[in-house]
Each structure stands twice: as C-alpha cells, then as structure tokens.
Symmetry: C2
Subunit: 246 residues, 2 copies
C-alpha cells in the first residue's frame, strides 16, 4: 500500500478543530488540487467560497442546523455548482442564442464537477495533516444561504466542508462489504444480501463508539432516515435558482 | 508539496492503454479507496460495475459514442447512483411506509456520493501507476446501457471510467485561474472576468497540442457547447428509472 492509498484508507470526518488557522498557502494548495480533478468536457462548472469571517461562519452554522463546528473551524468551504460563469461567457459570444443551463443534464454535470473537485481538495487537505467534514446541512435552509453568500442565479451550494487542524481522534467507520457495492459485468440485485453481515459489523461499531448505549444496525438507521421526508424544498429552490431540471 | 498533492497536480486523462490487465488486487484496492470517501449520513448510495467482458465493453463503447478506448481499456468501471439498496432495506424494515427515494434531494445525495467515491478511486488508481478517464458518454444512450447492465429501478449510471496502464503521455491541461473559482466570504460575479486571461492560456495550449491547427479560446469552445442541447432525454429517463426529482 502506497502513501496515498494509506491516506485515503484512514479518512474519517473531523468535527473538532484547534484554533490554528488554515494558511493562505494551504488554502490555495487545496483548491489547486481540487481544480486538477476531471471535469466534464473541461467545463469546470463549480466555484468554492472560502468563508473565514467569524460572523458569517456563525450565521452559516445556524443555517446548517446549528452545527457548532462550522463556526469553530478556521475555514469553511462552500462548494457550489456553477453554471453562471458558463452562461455569462456564452451570452457574450452569442447574445441571441439560448444557453442550455436549465436541463437535468447540465445540473448533473455541474453537481458532479463540484463533487470531484471537492473530493480532490479533501484528499489534499488530509495529506497536509488537516481534517475535514462535508456539510450536507448547507441544503437545510438553502435559500437563506444563497442570499447570505450572494450567489447569483445558476449557482447553488451543493455542500459545505469544514477544514482545520484536527482536535479529536475518531474511530474509522466501517464501510459496506465490497461485495455489496462492487458488481461484475452486470448489476446483481443479490448484492443487497450483503447488508445483513454489515448490520452486525455496524451494530458492534456503534455500540463501541457510544459505550454500549446504541447498537442500532445500519439498515435500521437507513430505514428510519429514508422514511422521513428530507429537504423537500430542493426542487422548488433549484427551479427558482435557474436550475429547472428540464 | 507532498507525494499525494504532487500526484493530484499531475492528473491528466488517459485514453490509450497497454494490454496489461488491471489485477483483481488492484481493482479491490481502488474500490476500497473509493468506499472510504465521505458519504451523506453514511448512506453509501452508489454501486460500481467492473466491466471486463470484451463483448460488453465493445457494446458499451458503441453506446458511449464510439469511444474506442472503452473497448480497449482492460477494466471499464460504471459508477452508478444507487437508491435500490436503500429502498430494499427500508421496505424490509417498514413494509407499509414510503421510502423517499423519489425526491430531488435523494437524487443529489446519490449522485454526489457516487462522484466522491469515484474520485477517491481515481486517485487510488493513479497512485498505482494506472491511468483513468471519466466517460460522461455513458449518458448518451443511457436507457440501452441500463438494460445492458441490468440496472434495477432507482439505479442510474452517472459516468463510466476507463482504467488501465497508460500507453500515452499527454500534456497537462491548464485549469481556470484560481481567482475565477475561489471566492472569499461571498460570491463575486467579477470572478468571471478572469476568463479572458484563461482564454489566452488555453488558446496557446490548444495550438501547441494540435500543432497549430486549432487555437479556439476556451470561452468560445464553451459557448459552442452550451448553445447545443445535450442529452435532453435525461429528465424522462430518470423519471422512468424511479428518480422522479420531486
């Protein structure tokens, strides 16, 4: 196992940070590494907002479901799918033509581009000894976040990411058995049967992590989650924001 | 710059591969690294199909727009957003409840989870000396791909990825200036002005790569692309496949 794979294999989310800042050089290195990820036809349909202003971080922390570590981390990155840049330059070249930024396909392209860049950035951050955690909670009150960060139409925040120096040691969280996710030549619906073994693993993990207080199997946690509606405002929000998903 | 960042910074897509196979051990390492990426609330809403069967690869190559390197690479990975697994286990726990797998939010979660895992896998593959290229063309004739790979409802192929031993040396493709994508505390619409410098850079790069035959600036290439409708079948396809984007 080489150093890079060894780094990837020990990833865990960090939710507690020291006061030490992320330097400007570190930030630029992290974002540069993000930019080197693949992008659909080189469209580079993403932007990232580095939030270091304490007041803004505090407001975002509240908007993301009162996750204190957003206020506490030195740098909070907001990764945005960005079709504004592409629409603007398209209109400069072709003032009379329509730019196809309102399709489901363009939404997928921008969302995937953002995620690929962010994951490269996450790996780069961890290679520098920093810790990160993705914040899906940015979509909780996404309209307010959009206004707060002054996002123009055709830009939406896909997720946030806390970055900072770790001030905690957490356990590695076991992943699904590889047989559950890796299929050979065709999709196998039998792969779902692997979940029962994983339930045993995760039940044990959770029990250990909570000092015996909780040993709910993974599939039960997922079922509880999936039977609750979540962020059902996203469709209307996206439409309003210029992502019509046509 | 450490080894991992140095690896990330030299990424380029590889579209020509030697005959040397990707070993089973390499494949398992790559997918294991992919699995270690972050996942929204640990839902792990993705699957990956490793296609090594020559006939299948040839068919996929045709379905993806006759990209020969899909048939030629030893292993073609099809990265799928997967809500089938979650829906199945939810129904086992709660036969009478509805699983919210038809929302725009669940679509985003599954798509992002897939991209994060795939990018980790790409980094792992490159750290092993392998080369990769993402294949968005998997969405060209996505219904046929879905049938060919026997994807159940609530699973869709987000992109493919050729993996193999590189048989070409390509130039690093310059990325947008960092100022175009990295914003401070708020989104700056002025950032789009950075594109004019990038046009000069990319025009020079393209000219060099094509021996002077093509020096179209990036913004013009993008404008030409954006004014053409692309994969407008995605909305209907996704609905049919159980992703209603409600």
């Amino acid at each position: 196992m080489n150093d890079t794979i060894s780094l990837l294999m020990k990833h865990r989310s960090v939710r507690k940070f020291t006061n030490e800042p992320v330097t400007e050089e570190q930030l630029e290195t992290i974002v540069a590494a993000g930019q080197m990820a693949s992008s659909s036809s080189h469209v580079q349909a993403y932007s990232v907002i580095a939030v270091t202003d304490d007041k803004l971080k505090k407001e975002l922390s509240e908007l993301c479901g009162n996750q204190a570590y957003i206020a506490e981390c030195p740098t909070f990155l907001v990764w945005c799918a960005d079709l504004y840049r592409l629409k603007t330059i398209t209109e400069e070249h072709y003032p009379d033509k329509k730019a196809f930024v309102d399709t489901t396909e363009s939404f997928i392209i921008a969302t995937v581009d953002t995620a690929l860049a962010a994951q490269n950035a996450a790996v780069a951050a961890e290679s520098l000894g920093l810790g990160i955690v993705y914040i899906g909670g940015i979509r909780n009150r996404i309209e307010e976040v959009t206004r707060l960060l002054e996002l123009p139409k055709h830009v939406y925040p896909v997720f946030g990411m806390c970055v900072g120096h770790p001030d905690q040691q957490t356990m590695l969280r076991p992943r699904l058995p590889q047989k559950a996710v890796l299929h050979r030549n065709k999709y196998s619906t039998d792969a779902v049967n692997e979940v029962s073994n994983y339930d045993v693993t995760m039940s044990r993990y959770l029990s250990e992590r909570t000092g015996g207080k909780n040993d709910t199997p993974w599939s039960k946690l997922m079922a509880d989650k999936l039977t609750q509606p979540a962020r059902i405002h996203m469709r209307d929000y996206l439409k309003e924001q210029g992502f019509e998903l046509k």
